[in-house]
């Protein structure tokens, strides 16, 4: 009963306080106009008439993430990996896996069969989200987060041991993660590396030609729009995010029994 009373007070507060705030609300609420900077980004995201300033990607969000404010994203990726490395360092432990023989692992056969279909679809949807990130909503972060649910679902439905037997181990995922990070680093400086031997001025994280630097990655390959570096950034970020999360899930779902056995072994 006390909870219902508190809830009614909260709801009345919302309705009443918004009546008070409505006078001041005009200053803080969205209006019919957006900021000058946003218009600049929207105008230059895909603009074939301004070839020296555009990104050639119809998706304004991805072009902000990986081109206009690319340095921010690189540093945010660094923060993300520090958090992942912290988790790995805390959850690390040399554990001998003892697979229980007697009991049936996981959920029922119906759910397992459906998951065999849906896990493939999850990976396909994630790959399409990531690789079309420069054309439709999506990108490396979205695709990676989507694909990371598939290993967790398999762990929950089959078991922790099933994923290990299928060859998805921590070492493989560490390799994929390193591949992704190295790829991001290489793509960030690739235009600079191409321009250096030719003696042309170029920037780090450069995508399309700039007014004072005439070099850039091609926007179209075989008539398909790939928006220069954006496609490669999305691909590598997809691998990195997916592998990073999968390592953490493999560590966090180690059965508590294994840890208990290990501690008992140390005591004796």
């Amino acid at each position: 009963m006390r909870h219902i009373l508190g809830l009614i007070i909260v709801l009345l507060f919302i309705i009443g306080f918004s009546l008070v705030l409505i006078v001041a609300g005009n200053y803080i609420l969205p209006s019919h106009e957006i900021g000058m900077l946003a218009k600049y980004y929207l105008y230059l995201a895909y603009n074939p008439w301004q070839r020296n300033f555009t990104v050639m990607s119809p998706e304004a969000v991805t072009s902000i993430v990986w081109d206009f404010r690319g340095l921010d994203t690189v540093f945010e990726t660094a923060v993300f990996y520090l958090a992942i490395i912290g988790s790995i360092a805390l959850g690390r432990g040399i554990v001998k896996y003892i697979k229980p023989e007697e009991e049936e692992l996981g959920l029922s056969l119906i759910v397992k069969t459906v998951t065999r279909i849906s896990a493939v679809m999850i990976i396909a949807v994630a790959a399409s989200i990531a690789l079309h990130g420069h054309l439709t909503p999506g990108g490396g972060f979205q695709g990676g987060a989507t694909a990371a649910v598939a290993p967790l679902l398999i762990i929950v439905i089959f078991s922790h041991y099933y994923l290990l037997e299928k060859g998805v181990t921590k070492d493989l995922m560490l390799f994929l993660r390193s591949l992704g990070l190295t790829g991001i680093a290489i793509v960030a400086i690739i235009v600079y590396l191409i321009a250096l031997p030719q003696g042309i001025h170029a920037y780090v994280l450069q995508n399309q030609p700039k007014p004072d630097s005439s070099i850039g990655l091609p926007a179209y390959i075989n008539g398909q729009l790939i928006s220069g570096t954006l496609w490669f950034f999305n691909l590598f970020e997809f691998f990195a995010v997916m592998a990073g999360f999968t390592i953490v899930f493999l560590l966090i779902t180690i059965p508590e029994r294994a840890f208990r056995k290990e501690e008992e072994g140390e005591k004796q």
Binding site: P100, L105, L107, V111, S118, M121, I122, V125, I129, T136, P137, G138, T146, V149, L152, L153, I155, V156, I157, S159, H160, Y161, I252, T253, I254, P255, E256, R257
Partner: protein, 93 residues
């Protein structure tokens, strides 16, 4: 056919969907056991996926449909987690 007819029709059936969502959320909030709550969230979210597709037709924005695919895929996950928790008590194995 003129597209505004479709838009007007969608506007007229919107209240029915919204009333259904409100009833679903009420059951999800008050359900006596965890299973009732999860069942209500489940039904609500599959309907929400259909609703998002209908709204994307109303807004004439075809690209908004990708969100519905992702939503339809993930609600299943919540069922599985709760089921596993209720059955085995340790989610890992």
């Amino acid at each position: 056919m003129d597209f505004s007819i479709v838009q007007t029709f969608i506007i007229y059936i919107l209240p029915v969907y919204v009333v259904a969502f409100v009833l679903y959320v009420i059951r999800a909030l008050k359900g006596p056991t965890i299973s009732d709550q999860v069942l209500a969230i489940d039904a609500m979210s599959y309907d929400l996926a259909a609703f998002l597709v209908i709204l994307s037709i109303f807004f004439r924005e075809p690209i908004l449909i990708g969100t519905a695919i992702v939503l339809a895929l993930w609600i299943y996950a919540l069922d599985i987690y709760i089921a596993k928790y209720l059955e085995k008590k340790e989610v890992g194995e």
